[in-house]
Symmetry: C2
Subunit: 353 residues, 2 copies
């Protein structure tokens, strides 16, 4: 069967009405709309066709229609218009929401900024938001600074591009003389600065150890710390906000399900490994929409999730996502994400080299 223009309009009307009310929408409701001036009976015929195509269903015999996952998919892929105008619209929308406050004051602490970003997104959309911390794998080392802490301990501060700072307290057993420390600092910085984790290979490690001479074991410990700073692949920090927004949508407010959902949001780790994973070769502009069963998290099979990739500095990237009911306002969510992306890029790109 073919999806002609009228059917398309009816499907759109059903989706929009259901979005607002959360109730199944009947033929009478639609026939009263301005641009669909047909009798309920006609609408019913069309709806029967749409149901046959698997785009809508009725929860029970004498109820109105509700979009199916497939219906939403069609909507998102074809019917949703995210043309040029949309960006300017949402940019005009955002100022009301403290976004510019966040963006004007460039925060030095990345974590805090991401957390606040999650909060703003949740407040803006009235859905639940998720922001993963950046993946460091492809990031580069800016510099290393070691300081003596006394009692055989060394503080290693590792700074990556994007001003991401990692601290590490190393236990090296004995205190080093200041000039030894200076030399070691120089040696490490000289050899490592500007490199990514892949570029630190065995040859280089051997070279550093040789240069460190009798302090080779200290150098080795520092290198471990450097690897540790990069290697957060399996434990990316995830920030969420607005978890309680899901209580607003009765179709999700079933007590058993809501508990599972909030649990996943609290644990965060599952979010990081599934939704937070940045696919290889993924373009920055890509926005992923997961609808219902498509969501790769079990407890969210009744939800939809929209994610986008953000970029900060060189090869450092993460995900932001919105989690809401399947009848979420995809238009608004996609626009909000796009606007956030473009503004984020603005902050991060400028002050870095």
């Amino acid at each position: 069967m073919e999806l002609d223009d009228r059917k398309r309009k009816i499907l759109l009307a059903i989706i929009q009405n259901y979005q607002e009310t959360g109730e199944p929408v009947g033929s009478r409701t639609i026939s009263k709309m301005d641009d669909l001036n047909y009798s309920p009976a006609t609408i019913r015929n069309e709806m029967a066709d749409l149901e046959e195509m698997g785009l809508i269903v009725q929860p029970h015999t004498s109820a109105g229609r509700v979009p199916t996952d497939k219906g939403y998919r069609l909507y998102v892929d074809n019917l949703l218009k995210t043309d040029e105008t949309s960006l300017t619209v949402s940019e005009a929308q955002l100022p009301g929401t403290h976004m510019e406050q966040l963006l004007s004051k460039r925060m030095d602490r990345v974590e805090e900024m991401l957390m606040r970003m999650a909060q703003i997104l949740a407040a803006n959309t009235q859905y639940t938001s998720m922001v993963t911390g950046p993946h460091y794998k492809r990031n580069k080392l800016k510099f290393i600074q070691m300081s003596a802490m006394g009692s055989g301990k060394l503080l290693a501060v590792i700074v990556l591009n994007g001003n991401i700072v990692k601290n590490n307290i190393l236990d090296i057993g004995a205190d080093l003389a200041p000039e030894v420390l200076t030399n070691l600092n120089f040696c490490l910085n000289n050899n490592l600065n500007g490199l990514s984790i892949e570029e630190i290979n065995l040859a280089l490690i051997t070279k550093i150890k040789e240069e460190a001479g009798e302090y080779a074991d200290v150098a080795a410990k520092v290198l471990d710390a450097v690897a540790g700073a990069f290697d957060k692949e399996d434990s990316v920090p995830v920030y969420t906000s607005g978890a309680t927004n899901i209580f607003k949508y009765p179709e999700l407010a079933d007590n058993g399900k809501i508990s599972d959902l909030i649990n996943v949001l609290e644990e965060k780790s599952e979010l990081g490994t599934t939704l937070g994973h940045v696919a290889e070769g993924e373009s920055k502009q890509d926005i992923q929409v997961y609808i219902g069963d498509e969501v790769p998290v079990d407890s969210m099979k009744d939800c939809s999730v929209v994610t986008a990739t953000y970029q900060m500095g060189d090869g450092v990237q993460g995900k932001i996502g919105i989690i809401g009911p399947k009848r979420m306002d995809y238009q608004k969510v996609v626009e909000t994400l796009k606007a956030t992306m473009s503004q984020l890029d603005g902050i991060f790109m400028k002050p870095e080299e």
Copy 2:
């Protein structure tokens, strides 16, 4: 009216039975207990007295009895036995729960440790847990390390006692020569190390600025950063875990209330300012029990909260707390907290000077 031994036993029985079932307990149930071999009628007479004393109530005329806040208060203050034996009991209990894993491996990152502690507490008790980060006010400065980052930026690493590390990126407009940096580092460390925030007064600040000479403004910025490292009084980090455990207790699972509750747990800030506040002159051994209306958080008026103060290093302290239904197992909770405290003190006290 006097609370004789039999009445006490009956109250205890009601509290314990209600703890397990969550249902109002009737006279028949109690008369079947081993050490209370009276007829239901006798028990009823006693229960009527207990009700008159305000220790129990019946939710409706033909229901069993439920303890009141006042009843729980009496229980916690007098009937609860937390004698010497209890500590060893709970210590024997904890090993099954990864606690020793956490404690054996001394984590260098304080935040991560506190977060995992919250997780373990929640898993252990099946209630919701809360851990506030330490208050730094009375802590002391261990040392400061500044490094040049290029393009007019300076990285200031501030280490407090207890190996709490703070990073700060300062924008000073121009790059400093290495020897200037060395001198500045020396000057600051020389003047500040070992001091608490209160001890850094105007006279000292003036002295430092004089020593810094033409770099007085840089020194001022560093001092601001130091103050910032200490002054987290109003934004103590709070870690929570097991929020979804409250779904297990039907008396809390009302959809409106549970949303408010989880919201507070998610926001965290209110927890920090009320429950997280360490009272002046509070002894380390003190354990606070808030029952129902006593809880200083609005959305928790149907809950009970038990908190304890932990100590790490010199004057650095924070709170850990358990949030659960009023019918929580106070015995177990108090024991778990005490055991955690004593083990925590063990870790923090030993490796520090």
